[in-house]
C-alpha cells in the first residue's frame, strides 16, 4: 500500500502549477512563432530598410532602458529593495540638462558685428558635455539625498517599509517638479549641430534610413557608460567593496568596509547613470515634463527583472531586449502598436516561466530573498 501511494503522487497545488505553467508558456511561444512565420515568411510585407529603422529605434530606447535598469539592479543588489523613485531621478537629470541647454542657448558668443550665435550652437561638443556633467551631477545628488532622507532611517525596518517610502518619494519628487517647473511639456533646445531628426543617411533598397545624431549619441554613450560601470565594479576597490556588501553586509562590515558609505556611493552611481539617461532622453525625444520619468522607470524596472535583478550585465541585456521587443515586436508579430506593451510583457512572462530568476539571474540564497 505504502509503496503504491508513493509511486502515484497526488496532484497537489504545487506540482499542478508546475505542469500548467510550462504548458501555458509553450502555447504562447507557439503562437508567437506562428505569427513570426506568418509575417516573416508568408507575407513578407516589410523590406530590409523597415527592419533596420525598427532596429535602430529599438537599440536607442534599449540603451536608455538599460542605463536606468542598472540603477534598479545596483540598489537591489545591495539593499534588496526596489527604488521606485529611480525614474524620478532620471526626470531630475532631464530637467537639469534642459536648463543647462536653455542657459547655453542664451549666451551670445558671436564676435561684435556678426549675427548672434549662441554658445550651444557655437560649441556644441562643450555644451553637450556640460549638459551631461550637470545632469549626472544633479541626478547623483538627488540619488544621494534620496537615500539619506527616505531609505537610511528605514534600513532596519521590515522590507515592505522602504518600498512604501520609495513610492512616497516618487510621488513627492513628481509633484515637487510639477510645482517648481509647471506642468507644461517643454522642448529640449538641442545645439544646432545635433538637432533632432538630423543625422547620417544610409541608402538601403533605394530608401533613405536616417541614423540620427542624437540616437547614435544615446546608443554609444550608454554602451560606454555601461562598460565603464562594469570595469569599475569588477576592477576598482570601490567595486570590490560594493560586491562585498552585496554578497554579505555583516561580513563586509567585519572586514572593515564602511557599509553606509558604500550604499551612499551606490546611490550616487545609479543616480548619475539615470541622469545621463535623462539627458539622452531629452536630446533624442525632446520632451521633458514632470511625469517623464515614470514610464521609462517602470519599463526599466521590468528590464531589470527580466535580466535577473541584482545582476548588472543582466540589466543591460534586459534593457536592450525590452527596447528591441517594443520596437520590433508589433511589426514582427503583425499585431497593433497599441499592444506593444502587452507583447513585451507577455514575452517577459514566458521568459520568467522558464527562467524564474531572469535571463542572467542567480538563484538567490534564502537570506537574500
Amino acid at each position: 500500500m505504502e509503496a503504491n501511494k508513493r509511486s502515484r503522487p497526488k496532484l497537489t497545488r504545487r506540482n499542478y502549477s508546475k505542469i500548467i505553467r510550462p504548458i501555458f508558456g509553450i502555447m504562447v511561444l507557439g503562437y508567437i512563432l506562428w505569427r513570426l512565420y506568418l509575417v516573416l515568411i508568408v507575407q513578407q510585407v516589410y523590406t530590409a530598410e523597415i527592419w533596420v529603422r525598427l532596429l535602430i529605434s529599438g537599440l536607442i530606447i534599449g540603451g536608455v532602458y538599460a542605463l536606468i535598469a542598472i540603477g534598479y539592479t545596483l540598489v537591489y543588489g545591495i539593499l534588496f529593495m526596489i527604488n521606485f523613485a529611480h525614474g524620478e531621478v532620471m526626470m531630475i537629470g532631464a530637467f537639469a540638462g534642459y536648463f543647462l541647454f536653455e542657459f547655453t542657448k542664451s549666451i551670445n558668443v558671436a564676435a561684435p558685428g556678426e549675427p548672434p550665435l549662441s554658445f550651444s550652437d557655437g560649441y556644441p561638443l562643450i555644451s553637450v558635455i556640460l549638459a551631461f556633467l550637470v545632469g549626472m551631477t544633479i541626478a547623483a545628488a538627488a540619488g544621494f539625498f534620496l537615500e539619506k532622507i527616505a531609505y537610511r532611517p528605514l534600513r532596519k525596518a521590515p522590507r515592505l517599509i522602504p518600498l512604501i517610502s520609495a513610492i512616497g518619494a516618487s510621488f513627492f519628487l513628481q509633484n515637487a517638479a510639477q510645482l517648481l517647473f509647471s506642468p507644461q511639456v517643454r522642448d529640449y533646445t538641442n545645439p544646432q549641430a545635433i538637432a533632432r531628426g538630423s543625422g547620417w543617411t544610409i541608402m538601403i533598397n533605394d530608401a533613405r534610413v536616417i541614423v540620427t545624431y542624437t540616437g547614435a549619441l544615446t546608443f554609444i554613450l550608454s554602451i560606454l557608460l555601461m562598460i565603464g560601470l562594469y570595469v569599475m565594479v569588477q576592477k576598482t576597490k570601490l567595486g570590490k567593496a560594493m560586491r562585498a556588501v552585496a554578497s554579505d553586509k555583516n561580513t563586509a562590515a567585519l572586514m572593515g568596509i564602511d557599509v553606509d558609505v558604500i550604499i551612499s556611493r551606490t546611490f550616487i552611481i545609479s543616480g548619475a547613470l539615470a541622469g545621463a539617461a535623462g539627458v539622452m532622453w531629452g536630446l533624442h525625444n525632446g520632451l521633458v515634463h514632470f511625469f517623464v520619468g515614470f514610464l521609462p522607470g517602470i519599463k526599466a524596472f521590468t528590464a531589470a527583472v527580466l535580466g535577473g535583478i541584482g545582476n548588472i550585465p543582466g540589466a543591460m541585456l534586459g534593457g536592450m531586449f525590452l527596447g528591441l521587443i517594443e520596437s520590433l515586436g508589433p511589426t514582427a508579430l503583425g499585431i497593433s502598436y497599441q499592444l506593444k506593451d502587452v507583447i513585451a510583457f507577455v514575452i517577459m512572462i514566458v521568459i520568467l516561466i522558464f527562467r524564474p530568476s531572469g535571463i542572467l539571474g542567480e538563484v538567490l540564497s534564502e537570506e537574500k530573498v
Binding site: 523597415i50 529603422r53 507644461q184 530608401a207 525625444n285 517623464v292 514610464l295 508589433p330 502598436y337 497599441q338
Partner: protein
C-alpha cells in the same frame, strides 16, 4: 461616573434642540417681485438652484489646463472670462466662471463633474472640452440637471445617448471625418492613406469615420491603427507604416501626440508623406513645437467666424486682456465665448427673485431652455439646437501650414 455621563448627554441634547429651534425672524430685505418661485420650483423636474444674496451664479467649465493639451483649456477659460465680464448683472447677482482642470481624461471629467454637482450654485457647464472627459461627466450632470453646452466635444456618440442635458456647438466628428476624407480624396488627390488615432473617444471615432468614408470614396486605407498616447517616440509605428508607402498620414487625436508624430515622420521613412491632422492638432503649440517639420501639414477647425462688429469687439478685448490673438491657442476661442454667453442668456430667461431675496433658477427649465436655443446669434455663427443637442451642422475649415502659419484652404 455614570451620573456625569448622563449630564453630558443631557447637555448635548439641549444643544442639539437649540440648534434645531427656529432662528429669529430675519427682516425681509426686499419686496418680492413677481410670483412666488416655490410653486415653480416644486413643479420643476430637478428643482431650483438657489443663489443666496451675496453669492454668484456660477457657470462651470471643465477642460485640460495642464499637460500637453493645456492650451485648449487655457484658451477656453480666457474666452469664458471675457463672456462673464461682458454679461450684465442679473437682478443684482453677478455671474462667475469656474474653470476646473479635468486633464481631458475620463477620470478628470468625472472628478470635475462631481465637484460641480456638489456646488448648488453651479447652474450650467460650458464644456467639457474633450470628448472623453465629457462622456464621463455627462451622467453626473444628467442626474442633477445641469445643462451642458460644449464648445468642442465632437464625438458623434455624445448626442446619440438620448441625453437631456448635453448640447454642443461644434460640428461632430462624423461631419469632420467625412469632410476630411472627401477633402483628401477629391481636393488633394490622395489615394493611399494611413489612419492613426490615439485610442481615445475623440481620436478613435474620428479616424474610424474618416477611414470608412475614404474607403467608400474609392481610396485605399493602408492602415487603421491606434497608438499609445503620451509617449515620446512613435518612430517604430511610423516605420511600419512606411512599408505601405501611403500618400498621407491622417491622425485623429490631440496636439501632444500630433507633434511627436510629425517630428518622428522625418526620420522614419515618411519624410515625403503629408501629415493630415484634425481640430485636435490645430493651434500655435503645434507650430512652435514642430517648426520646419510642420510645414505642409493639414489641420481642421470649426468654420472661421464671419467678420462682424461683435467679433471685432471680442477679438480686441481678448487681445488686450490676454496679449494673444483669439484662435491662436486653440480653434475654439469663439465657440467658448458663445457657449458661456448662451448659458448666461438662458439663465437670465428662467431666473426668478424670491421673497427672501434669493435668486431661484429652475434647473429643468434651464435644461430645456438650452436645448431649445433657436436662431441664437453668437460671434461664430447662428445656432439652432436639434432635438438631440447638436447645435451646429456646418463642416470644418481646413488649414495648411505655410511658413510657420496656418493658411485656410477651403
Amino acid at each position: 461616573m455614570k451620573r456625569s455621563r448622563i449630564l453630558v448627554f443631557a447637555i448635548v441634547l439641549v444643544m442639539i434642540l437649540g440648534a434645531c429651534a427656529p432662528a429669529a425672524e430675519t427682516p425681509v430685505v426686499e419686496e418680492p417681485t413677481g410670483d412666488d418661485p416655490s410653486a415653480i420650483c416644486e413643479a420643476d423636474d430637478f428643482g431650483c438652484a438657489v443663489i443666496a444674496p451675496g453669492q454668484t451664479i456660477k457657470i462651470g467649465m471643465g477642460s485640460p489646463m495642464t499637460g500637453g493639451n493645456a492650451a485648449f483649456g487655457i484658451d477656453a477659460e480666457q474666452s469664458g472670462l471675457i463672456a462673464v465680464e461682458d454679461a450684465d448683472d442679473l437682478m443684482g447677482f453677478q455671474f462667475e466662471l469656474i474653470a476646473e482642470d479635468d486633464g481631458g481624461t475620463p477620470e478628470g471629467g468625472a472628478a470635475v463633474a462631481n465637484k460641480f454637482a456638489a456646488d448648488p450654485t453651479v447652474v450650467g457647464v460650458a464644456g467639457h472640452l474633450f470628448s472623453g472627459a465629457t462622456f464621463a461627466a455627462l451622467p453626473i450632470y444628467e442626474e442633477i440637471g445641469i445643462p451642458m453646452l460644449s464648445p468642442s466635444a465632437t464625438n458623434p456618440d455624445l448626442t446619440k445617448q438620448g441625453s437631456r442635458v448635453f448640447n454642443r456647438v461644434p460640428f461632430t466628428d462624423e461631419a469632420q471625418g467625412e469632410a476630411a476624407a472627401a477633402f483628401m480624396y477629391d481636393v488633394l488627390g490622395f489615394r493611399k492613406v494611413a489612419f492613426l488615432h490615439d485610442g481615445q473617444d475623440y481620436g478613435k471615432g474620428l479616424a474610424e469615420i474618416a477611414a470608412a468614408t475614404f474607403e467608400s470614396l474609392g481610396g485605399e486605407v493602408v492602415e487603421l491603427m491606434g497608438i499609445t498616447p503620451g509617449e515620446a517616440d512613435y518612430s517604430p509605428v511610423l516605420s511600419t507604416i512606411a512599408a505601405q508607402s501611403p500618400d498621407a498620414l491622417y491622425f485623429g487625436g490631440y496636439t501632444q501626440e500630433g507633434v511627436v508624430l510629425t517630428n518622428n515622420m522625418k526620420t522614419s521613412g515618411l519624410e515625403d508623406v503629408v501629415f493630415f491632422g484634425c481640430d485636435g492638432t490645430f493651434g500655435v503649440d503645434y507650430l512652435t513645437r514642430t517648426g520646419a517639420n510642420g510645414e505642409g501639414t493639414y489641420h481642421a477647425t470649426p468654420r472661421t467666424p464671419p467678420e462682424t462688429p461683435e467679433k471685432d469687439a471680442f477679438d480686441a478685448a481678448y487681445l488686450t486682456r490676454w496679449g494673444q490673438s483669439p484662435g491662436e491657442l486653440s480653434p475654439f476661442t469663439w465657440n467658448s465665448y458663445d457657449c458661456t454667453t448662451a448659458l448666461i442668456e438662458q439663465v437670465k430667461e428662467v431666473a426668478m427673485l424670491g421673497a427672501d431675496g434669493s435668486l431661484y433658477i429652475p434647473r429643468g427649465a434651464l435644461v430645456d431652455g438650452v436645448r431649445g436655443l433657436a436662431n441664437y446669434v453668437g460671434i461664430s455663427g447662428t445656432y439652432t439646437c436639434a432635438p438631440v443637442g447638436d447645435c451646429n451642422v456646418e463642416g470644418p475649415t481646413f488649414w495648411i501650414v505655410e511658413d510657420g502659419e496656418f493658411v485656410a484652404v477651403n
